[in-house]
Subunit: 277 residues, 2 copies
DNA sequence: ATTGACCTTATAGTCGCTATAACCTTTATA
DNA sequence: TATAAAGGTTATAGCGACTATAAGGTCAAT
C-alpha cells in the first residue's frame, strides 16, 4: 500500500488523474517513483502532505506557478505575509459582495416596479418618500442635445462613480432634475444628472436628499417623449389647480435589455412635487 | 461625434479594443456600421447602452453566450430569476468568505505560534484554556503503524470534513488523543484523531470540549520522535511527582510546506494535563 | 509625400484544468 | 494460458474571456 498508482492517489485525495499528471508536468508534484519501462507513476501516500499544501495555497488564490516557487523555496515569513494579505483581501471581497448584494436587490425592485407600473402615458398622483441621490454636474444643458449627449454624460458619470469607488450598478437607476424655478416657466434646463443610492453605503458628503412629497407623475417609455409628456404633466397641474412644490425629476425606472435600433430601452417616471389646496 | 472608431468607443467605455473586436466576433455587440472597403468598425455612442448591460450581466456571473441569448431574446422574468439566484449566491459567497477568513487567521496564528515555540525537545508547563475539537474515530490504532497509516487516516478525515461541510483548513491544526487510562500505563493506543475548530462555525453536536488545565508539554519536530518524546514527558511527570489529570494530546502546531524526503514537515506539542500537589 | 497614429485580420498564449484518441500494462477470471 | 476488463501512458484539443503579437492596410496632419 506504500506504492500508489495514479488512480489510487487520485481517489485518496479527491483529485482527478489528469490533475496529478498536470502537476507532474509542471513539476509541482513529481511521483515518488516512475517505472522507466512503462512510464507508470507511483506515488507514496506521504506525498499527500504536499498535495494538501498545494490545495490550501490554491484556496488562497495563489497560482500554481507561485505555489511551486513557494514550495521549492520555503520561506515562512513570505507565507505569513501572503496569509495576511489574503486576510485583508477577504475583508475587501466581503465588502464588495455586500455592495453587490444591495445592487442586485435594487435591480430586482427596479424590474418589479417596471412590471407593476401603469402603462405609458398614465398620469397619477403618488406619494414618494425621501430619497437619497448622488448627483453629477455637467457643463452642458443636455436638453439642448439628444440621446447621444445623454449617453456621453452617462459615460462620464460612470467613470465618476468608478473614481469615487461607488458601485456601478446604481447606474441603472438614474435621473435628472430641473429646478422648480425653471420648470414653472416650462424651461427645460438641466445640467445635473444623478443616481439613487443607499445612504448606508455611500459617504454622506456625496449625497443629497430629495424630500418626501406628493408628486404628480406621468409614465413614459421613450427617451424622445420626455418633454412632450412633461408638458402634459404641467397642463394637468394647471387644470387641477395644484401648486408646484419643488424640482421636477425625470427618473429612469428601468433600463431594459431591449434594444430597438441599438437604443437604450428605458422606462421613465416624470414627476413634479405638488401642493393640493 | 456620432461615429466612433473602435479606439474612441473603447476609451469611452473603459474596455480594450480587443474586447470590442471579440464581442463583434461573438455577435454580442456589432458595430453600427462597418466600412465595406476598409473593414473599419464605427460605433454609435448609443451602443454604450448595450455594452453597459453586457457589463452588468457579466458582473452577475453570466457567460457571454448566455448574455447574448438574453439580449437577443429579452425576457424580464428570466432576468429577475437570474437576479434572485444571484442574490442567494452572494449570501453564500459571503458566508464562505467569512469561513475562509477564520481559517486564514487560524493559519497565521499557527505560524506565529510555530515561530515563537520553544525548540524541539523543550519541556515546559503551560496553562491551556478550554478547546473545542471535532473528532474522527478510526478503526485502527494508528500507533501500531507509521506515517503512512496516519496519512491514510488524514485522507479519511479530510473526506469526512468535506462531507460534513466543514472547512478543510481546520485540517492543518490536527491532533490525537490517548486516554488517561492508557497513557498512565504508557500504552500508546489511539483511534481518535481530531481537528481544533471554532465553536461559532461548527454545529455544536459535532464538537467535543477539551478542558482547561495545566499541561506538561514537550515540543517535537518530527513525527517519528513522538513516542520517545512522550516517554520523556511521562518520566518528567514521575520525577516531579505530578499527577496525570486527563487524556494525553498530541497536537500538530504547524504543518510546514517543507518537505524532506516528501514527508510532511510537522511541529508538535505533546501534552499531558497534570495536577501539581 | 511622408510620418505616425490608428485600424485590420490572424494567430498564439494565458490558466487550470477536462476530454478525447490511440495505444500500452496489469490483474482477474474462464 | 488466453482473454477481457480495468487501469495506465502520451499527445492533442478545448474551455472562457480575454491579451499579446505580427504583419500589414488606412487616415489625418504636416
Amino acid at each position: 500500500m506504500n506504492k500508489l498508482t495514479i488512480g489510487q492517489m487520485a481517489q485518496l485525495n479527491h483529485v482527478s488523474e489528469q490533475t496529478l499528471r498536470y502537476y507532474d508536468k509542471l513539476g509541482l508534484l513529481k511521483p515518488n517513483e516512475v517505472d522507466k519501462e512503462t512510464g507508470y507513476r507511483y506515488y507514496s501516500i506521504k506525498q499527500s502532505a504536499r498535495l494538501d499544501m498545494i490545495q490550501y495555497m490554491k484556496s488562497l488564490g495563489m497560482s500554481l506557478k507561485d505555489i511551486k516557487e513557494q514550495l521549492n523555496n520555503c520561506d515562512i515569513g513570505l507565507i505569513k505575509s501572503i496569509l495576511e494579505q489574503k486576510s485583508k483581501q477577504i475583508d475587501e471581497q466581503i465588502e464588495a459582495l455586500k455592495f453587490q448584494k444591495r445592487a442586485v436587490e435594487r435591480a430586482i425592485i427596479s424590474y418589479e416596479r417596471y412590471e407593476t407600473s401603469p402603462p405609458d402615458g398614465t398620469i397619477v398622483l403618488e406619494f414618494i418618500g425621501k430619497r437619497k441621490v448622488y448627483s453629477y454636474e455637467t457643463e452642458i444643458n443636455f436638453y439642448e442635445y439628444g440621446l447621444e449627449a445623454y449617453e456621453e454624460i452617462l459615460r462620464n458619470l460612470k467613470q465618476d462613480l468608478k473614481n469615487k469607488g461607488l458601485p456601478q450598478i446604481y447606474f441603472c437607476n438614474a435621473g435628472n432634475i430641473v429646478s422648480q424655478e425653471n420648470i414653472m416657466e416650462r424651461k427645460f434646463i438641466s445640467s445635473e444628472i444623478f443616481v439613487f443610492v443607499d445612504r448606508e453605503y455611500v459617504p454622506a458628503q456625496l449625497i443629497k436628499t430629495i424630500p418626501a412629497n406628493i408628486y404628480l407623475c406621468i409614465y413614459c417609455n421613450k427617451f424622445d417623449k420626455e418633454i412632450s409628456y412633461a408638458y402634459r404633466l404641467l397642463d394637468e397641474i394647471e387644470k387641477c389647480n395644484y401648486t408646484i412644490a419643488g424640482d421636477y425629476i425625470c427618473e429612469v425606472i428601468a433600463d431594459l435589455p431591449d434594444y430597438d435600433d441599438n437604443e437604450r430601452g428605458m422606462f421613465f417616471r416624470l414627476q413634479v412635487p405638488v401642493k393640493i389646496d
